[in-house]
Symmetry: D2
Subunit: 342 residues, 4 copies
Amino acid sequence: MIKVGIVGGTGYTGVELLRLLAQHPHVELRAITSRGDAGRAVADMFPSLRGRIALSFADPKAADLEACDLVFFATPNGIAMGQARALLDAGVRVIDLAADFRIKDIAVWEKWYGMKHAAPELVSEAVYGLPEANRAQIRPARLVANPGCYPTAVQLGFLPLVESGLVDGDHLIADAKSGVSGAGRKAEVHSLFSETSDSFKAYGVPGHRHLPEIRQGLSIAAGKAVGLTFVPHLTPMIRGIHATLYARVTREADFQALYESRYKEEPFVDVLPFASHPDTRSVRAANICRIALHRPQGGDTLVVLSVIDNLVKGAAGQAVQNMNIMFGFDECAGLTQIPVLP
Amino acid sequence: MIKVGIVGGTGYTGVELLRLLAQHPHVELRAITSRGDAGRAVADMFPSLRGRIALSFADPKAADLEACDLVFFATPNGIAMGQARALLDAGVRVIDLAADFRIKDIAVWEKWYGMKHAAPELVSEAVYGLPEANRAQIRPARLVANPGCYPTAVQLGFLPLVESGLVDGDHLIADAKSGVSGAGRKAEVHSLFSETSDSFKAYGVPGHRHLPEIRQGLSIAAGKAVGLTFVPHLTPMIRGIHATLYARVTREADFQALYESRYKEEPFVDVLPFASHPDTRSVRAANICRIALHRPQGGDTLVVLSVIDNLVKGAAGQAVQNMNIMFGFDECAGLTQIPVLP
Amino acid sequence: MIKVGIVGGTGYTGVELLRLLAQHPHVELRAITSRGDAGRAVADMFPSLRGRIALSFADPKAADLEACDLVFFATPNGIAMGQARALLDAGVRVIDLAADFRIKDIAVWEKWYGMKHAAPELVSEAVYGLPEANRAQIRPARLVANPGCYPTAVQLGFLPLVESGLVDGDHLIADAKSGVSGAGRKAEVHSLFSETSDSFKAYGVPGHRHLPEIRQGLSIAAGKAVGLTFVPHLTPMIRGIHATLYARVTREADFQALYESRYKEEPFVDVLPFASHPDTRSVRAANICRIALHRPQGGDTLVVLSVIDNLVKGAAGQAVQNMNIMFGFDECAGLTQIPVLP
Amino acid sequence: MIKVGIVGGTGYTGVELLRLLAQHPHVELRAITSRGDAGRAVADMFPSLRGRIALSFADPKAADLEACDLVFFATPNGIAMGQARALLDAGVRVIDLAADFRIKDIAVWEKWYGMKHAAPELVSEAVYGLPEANRAQIRPARLVANPGCYPTAVQLGFLPLVESGLVDGDHLIADAKSGVSGAGRKAEVHSLFSETSDSFKAYGVPGHRHLPEIRQGLSIAAGKAVGLTFVPHLTPMIRGIHATLYARVTREADFQALYESRYKEEPFVDVLPFASHPDTRSVRAANICRIALHRPQGGDTLVVLSVIDNLVKGAAGQAVQNMNIMFGFDECAGLTQIPVLP
């Protein structure tokens, strides 16, 4: 049993972490902090946790996080970078579910996130927590940068292609669709039910913060800079990301075999039979990425469909997967939920 | 480990049973039958079960159900009554998730279900599987009639009141709202997305089949016939039932204490603090009924709010709970899922 | 053509007023004000109005509202009461879509709305704008209090019963369900898509501000105080209210004939055949209330189903209907939209 | 006033035609046929039309369609091709909302639609009813093939580009998302609420019937064959199509000016300011296509966003627009509805 703390547990990634950790066989949840809701019982804010989580939100200052083995940051961007150093110095390992440590190039990060980085020296130490790409580095890491939701779906969908160099890496296209929970639990007009229900739209087409993150990961995998057009959309569902990926084939191969081989040992990536159509509900509330390949009309454009639950494999579930790797647990511990369908 | 079979597993209660049983510590799933889909892999029809259920649907004739310890019927009404006798004679215990054995009065059943009962002699033996009312009888039962979804939510909400005789039992009102999955996985125009989304309506107001079932249960609890107006509604969500119950107080009492005491030992009934407002998502995908009491403006009308997931506590979860009781397992075995929120 | 102004046009009742007024044959829209969005083109905020509304939001101070024949207030509660006097003195007629002038008893209003009333002397002059009850008084009115959404659906559903005194007026029950747009376009967590979609709940059961408004209207109609239990619910759809009303019959009558006769001349109330089940989409985006009667199992409880679009007959449409009456236009002018189905 | 008939009015395009035609100033609706529902009042099936459409569905044999000036076919594919000849011979003009006359190459049509064409000689006469491309030919046409929903959104989005030859026409990509009403009002499991709500998926990626239709239209516009990857998706909303289009720029130009100029005179195409994000609700229930251009990171990939209501500009509204052109009415007659938002 390890002692675990959560900083900032009142958002959707926070409550999802709680759902997963409350059932984890090797975790003792010690503290969960919230500036605004200190003193309030967690199960009072999230009745789904009644009888399952006895903790109350603690004031960040009062919570003895340094006594934990691991602390998750489920905070807005810009918080973890200010607090991680002290925890690391106290021997606590850290997984940040926000974006503070994802981008290696500080200048790029500062441009896209619009703030000065408070701990640039930690960025180089941080390991990008995509287990399917970085498992070996995650194991000993003190500080893990948990990937974004879009970046998880898009990178898992493109990785075998860019690693193998079989497609035109200068003109990748990722047309991605997300449920509204991806926008978080902030009170904002554009996330209201009456603004998002029964409607569909693209957003952030000129540039979305997940673009540099995806580009960084794919470029590392390709061994050279890739070119990517990334268009995110908002779709009227709570959970789920569906990435539709387009790549121009430059060298022929058995792509289906390529994907099956690449992910053969991966417990949380499921390559479907060729020409399948995964729906997001097939991964709802579970830590899985399902991927299907298509070659429409046998042309030179390959289409890859990649689906995840943005709050699980795209956030809290992947964070628990990283924790399992870091502490030597069975990688699937606490992550065996079956998707909820219908 | 007991050997379990499922008859008719292609509907929503079937796939939900599979989700729960696949994770149950004491169950070995031996067969699942489907007339129309025999030979097809279960995980092919329900990709959410890929890697978790290796079975294919079996032809009902070929499946060796008699080698099972327990068979669930997740079939339309009228099937189980034709097949239960042979299984019982072979020593197999049976839980019917349909309505065949719920109503004790054969004439009433035949009127509401519009068919002749094929096994009236089994009806008297069958135990109505609402554990909170009939746990002792469920334990040794060979044949359990699993309650309907509305009847579960409404009875659990009214039971303490009618048992105690503190309200006018002649004029109970149950205004109930159900998600669309309650209508099943049949191809019917009135269950289409474009017919039910972004809209709300009552249905079956002149008379719904769950009315006599609820009336029977409440009358037994009251020790006399109760009068009930039951108005079901369809609400644009997949899972969930919200029953809003109205009763006229005839004798004062501490109703909150009454409910808390009545359900103190019940693992799957959660009485909320007085004047709470449970939402259906607080029980989504979990085997729980949450109940809250209100006394608007201190008048003589008591309002009870009762929510369940119609596919779990209202169907498959309750069936597993009954199985646990029948076979002496921990009643919570395989039923510890935390509700999925958001 | 009359000159019309709107104060506070950035909420849902505001944009709905714009949709209706832009097509009204006798209206010239002169000004629409917004403190926060002054200078912004209306069609920039609401692209649905591109090419149809050329106005920009005006600063409240700069807008020459006194040159209008009529001003609508589509503001939060508490605004109109501070500004109506000056407009009335300038000869401008006023329709308030908020609650400032709905409740005749100032003490009751102040208790439920939690503020001091700024213009109590106008309350007695104000006419409650439910045309089906007060058409004659609306015609000459200078100041009309447009009814709330729930009050419209519930009162139209109960009016024939309480006017005729055929039911127990001390124990009326209104179980009402609303789409989320009823909560307005304010940025609040509880109205987020991820909080309200795929879920259902009651709210405000201990007491909702529309309760005293409904009770006042029904009491006037009954000629004596009525007793009402009012339970509002939130349902995952954008528009629509479905009120399910329960009344105990104390004297028999042909209730269907009663309703058909009561509403025979009403252009915007549609009494359906006995035992119908109106859905809210049958009135979506149109100024109609559809009503159906039921007498379940022939018992003494009468069930009335009443549906409206909360933004049309429950707000902006009714306001236009009141305007038509006040200015002697055809009562249906600008209100002939056919409901949008599916 | 022209006399109009509708063949097959029980689907979603049928009821939408009725909504539009009931308010059209120059149309007298004479007959609407339905094999299965003959004798039933239209307003009984679609209560939204109560008081607005007095007709009953007529038996196809009994309806005197030959007395009409114009007949719309709102039937499944394969019906109009068997009946159009007789109507044309009787001097009746025909608009087919199905696909029978859309594809000029009979072999291609027969391959994609899986049936023998019953009237190949009419295909060459038929005019493809996309007014923005073919207005002059539509005017005198006897037989108009109303475009499909996806083809309308995709062609309007791509037309200026392919006409001008400024992009790589061999590798166009159309990633399109449709509401569920596009699947029609047929009772099919995959269109059920519980199958499609709160989920997102691609479908028909190997090949969708609208692909050859789009390719034909764009090839005509380009003056040479275009290459297109078309990936349709199902999104949990009732109405709306959002097409996200990708093209590689081969020659620079002011693309925003190109689009604005191309559609300057078009009453039903709205080019938004550069880098806008139209949502489908901004065209809900109205006959409009809104288009926005993006050039992410100034790269060589142009992104075009194109939204329509699939039942209006993508079906019934466009059919009425074609009717207006054919009979010399104002092209906007009966099509001035403002989109319903929220």
